[in-house]
Symmetry: C2
């Protein structure tokens, strides 16, 4: 069951190790006949280069770490962000022949492990996902000089990122509700240690402020449960609320549930708008109006950014646009 080495292939092909190496690595300075005989031997022996040996000398790994830094927060296991991002990223990296090493950094301990791992030079670059503002990881990674790109903005200003136009999206949502004639427009925020949450909240506030209306804010943490809870709070605090902008769809879904239980009709009594336009948004009752932000596109852009960084490209952030998808809930 021993795998053939370069040397064995060379012997079989009757050429030197160097030539085989050149052929395998696609160098052009090889005579066609040597090329052919080597390829033949490679095929016959089922030769696969040993990545460890190669990595040992080249210092390149062809691997990228995808670090999902995020507290486990209970059972939010079907968080669509996670699968969309991981899936897209994996697909995109696969296409350029790079491996994905997935790392969940849920505790300080595992965060330390990530640092050690990355410091060990096992990967060519790191993509960061879902960090709260205070997370020390981005800065720590950036400090070790390895290419790092972040999905969403982080507190570490020197880490290039790809983010949405969050404030713009929130403005879209709120303007839409105003146009529908809503007067008491509340919001359910995401965790405020996340930039996106803060920006969405700020967009909501700014838009209302322009019309002289006051903000009605309840705090959530991007989970369905928190959305349901926040909606209950909102109903209690201000029974006349007639519209809600939830900072993501999961929370909007939670809010929908609370409204249903409380006997409020959507959109007749209360209009609801979410953010992200996840697939489930089209399957709620009533179907959810949402700010569409293609997480997949954002993920792709982040991968591209990281790859560019690895090639020595410029470290500049990217902002993705978004649009409003109007459905039954508003």
């Amino acid at each position: 069951m021993k795998r053939p080495t370069l040397e064995v292939v060379a012997a079989r092909a009757g050429v030197s190790k160097s030539s085989v190496s050149r052929v395998v690595n696609g160098e052009t300075t090889v005579a066609p006949e040597i090329r052919d005989v080597v390829m033949q031997a490679v095929r016959e022996l089922g030769y696969v280069p040993n990545a460890a040996a190669r990595n040992l000398v080249t210092r390149r790994t062809d691997a990228v770490a995808v670090v999902v830094s995020d507290p486990p927060k209970g059972v939010v296991s079907d968080d669509p962000l996670f699968s969309t991002v991981v899936r897209t990223v994996s697909r995109e990296l696969e296409a350029v022949g790079r491996r994905v090493v997935l790392i969940l950094a849920e505790s300080d301990e595992s965060r330390a492990r990530v640092e050690r791992y990355v410091a060990g030079g096992h990967v060519d670059g790191v993509m960061l996902v879902a960090l709260h503002g205070a997370d020390p990881l981005p800065a720590a990674l950036a400090r070790m000089g390895l290419p790092v790109a972040s999905f969403n903005r982080t507190a570490a200003t020197d880490v290039p990122y790809v983010a949405l136009d969050n404030a713009g999206g929130a403005e879209l949502a709120v303007r839409h509700l105003l146009e529908r004639g809503r007067r008491r427009i509340a919001t359910i925020t995401g965790p405020l240690d996340l930039y996106e949450s803060r920006e969405r909240l700020e967009g909501y506030r700014a838009t209302l402020r322009d019309t002289g209306r006051r903000s009605i804010v309840a705090l959530g943490d991007f989970t369905r449960v928190s959305g349901a809870e926040a909606m209950r709070q909102l109903l209690e605090d201000d029974p006349d609320v007639d519209a809600v902008f939830a900072a993501n769809d999961l929370m909007a879904i939670g809010a929908l549930r609370t409204l249903h239980q409380a006997g409020r009709r959507v959109p007749d009594d209360v209009a609801v708008v979410g953010f992200d336009d996840i697939e489930a948004a089209a399957y709620t009752t009533p179907a959810l109006t949402s700010v569409r932000s293609s997480m997949a596109d954002q993920a792709t852009a982040t991968v591209r950014l990281l790859l560019a960084l690895i090639e020595g490209g410029p470290r500049k952030p990217v902002i993705m646009p978004n649009e409003l998808v109007v459905r039954e809930s508003s």
Copy 2:
């Protein structure tokens, strides 16, 4: 920015490379004072062993490939199976100090890449997820002698797996509907090239058969869209249908949507039962009755199985139990 090597650490500590190696690898045959002085040097220099070099000689990688073999099937990006499994597996492997190399095998081409990759000895074992019955990958991987464990049963009989009691779960669902007095119980199946789909269908059929009732079957593919479509079909084929057992929750959610649009009340006119009890099941309107099968537990069991396999454990399958969670939809 050059990383220190074993040799440098040895020099600093005033001992031999061998001793440093022993300390770093936690061998016990080292005098405490040498241990201490080495640890000190390691700390001071921030030494992290080079995995490539280590792997080159030991042939161990401490990495496990998680292969998600699955056609891209459009936008089913928030498939809860994916995130739950990947997340759980990652967490579990992290805990035992192993890396996760995530590979999406969506095309024949990438499947070939997986084979080559695994053949290259880059990982100590492979965990397979979500394969359709005809997938040649499991057999191919098993053939190369590497430990392989599958999340769910596959066609390759020699690949150990962890599966649910699918037929039993279906029976639970159907019996429950019968007890509720339903007479025309239909089912929406998953893709029939999946064992789980076939087993759930078989469980449904067998249970109905025992009561002398006939089966009413519509085909789905585990997505919301397909559930909605199948429900439409069912309504058309048999307008008197008064209960539906969907082979997973996502399709049940799709069915709920169709029923809502068709003006049928749930559960009054039609009762709906899903399978998996994903988080979203509690957030539908009405909340979904579902067969609970902890995907997380199943994923954990699969990891354990794989780790045992790597240690040379026995190759025997594991079957997980399930229970019915009754909510408003039935």
